[in-house]
Amino acid sequence: DAGITQSPRHKVTETGTPVTLRCHQTENHRYMYWYRQDPGHGLRLIHYSYGVKDTDKGEVSDGYSVSRSKTEDFLLTLESATSSQTSVYFCAISRETHGYTFGSGTRLTVV
């Protein structure tokens, strides 16, 4: 997993509750990304970060916010979870010679 840890691995939450997913890296990479994966949609970019406190939106950013207060941590927050946010969430870092390296994913179920 090249030093990328996602937590939690699985989570079930109720509609309307806030949820924060954590991505932790140990290799001091500048760029980090959050994707969601759903059947029929492939992987879609939610947000990405290009440094501490520097973030930008991806293709499907509505309903999500991110924060990066330290190089090693990139947090994804669902302010008020909805059933449409039930998905598998992947964090990734990018490296020059091998593109993206992904974490193991977080399976989120909103009931």
């Binding site: 500048r30 760029y31 029929g40 992987l43 879609r44 293709e59 593109g99 974490g103």
Partner: protein, 115 residues
């Protein structure tokens, strides 16, 4: 982000060569083409990346014509373990960085290899 189009699924027998073609008609000058492989319950894994012509590594070859509007991933002599989803991605370097990309994965091609 440039849009990519690739077949939804492909079937192959063990030992055959598999070619997966991806079209990216609106690829930009600074865009690179990258292919990833994903197994169930895992994150995608980098296979190969190129900008133009041909690139080969120990796993696959990537063919890119001169107009760069398409690319073909070639997997030589596939085995059952090559059954996976393969993604073609086109992306730009973020702020002229050597390591930052914002990539659109699309839906991928589901490859099934059978005996």
């Amino acid at each position: 982000l440039a849009k990519t189009t690739q077949p939804i699924s492909m079937d192959s027998y063990e030992g055959q060569e598999v070619n997966i073609t991806c079209s990216h008609n609106n690829i930009a000058t600074n865009d690179y083409i990258t292919w990833y492989q994903q197994f169930p319950s895992q994150g995608p894994r980098f296979i190969i990346q190129g900008y133009k012509t041909k690139v080969t590594n120990e796993v696959a070859s990537l063919f890119i014509p001169a107009d760069r509007k398409s690319s073909t991933l070639s997997l030589p002599r596939v085995s059952l373990s090559d059954t996976a989803v393969y993604y073609c991605l086109v992306g730009f370097r973020i702020w002229n960085s050597n390591s930052g990309y914002a990539l659109n994965f699309g839906k991928g091609t589901s490859l099934l290899v059978t005996p």
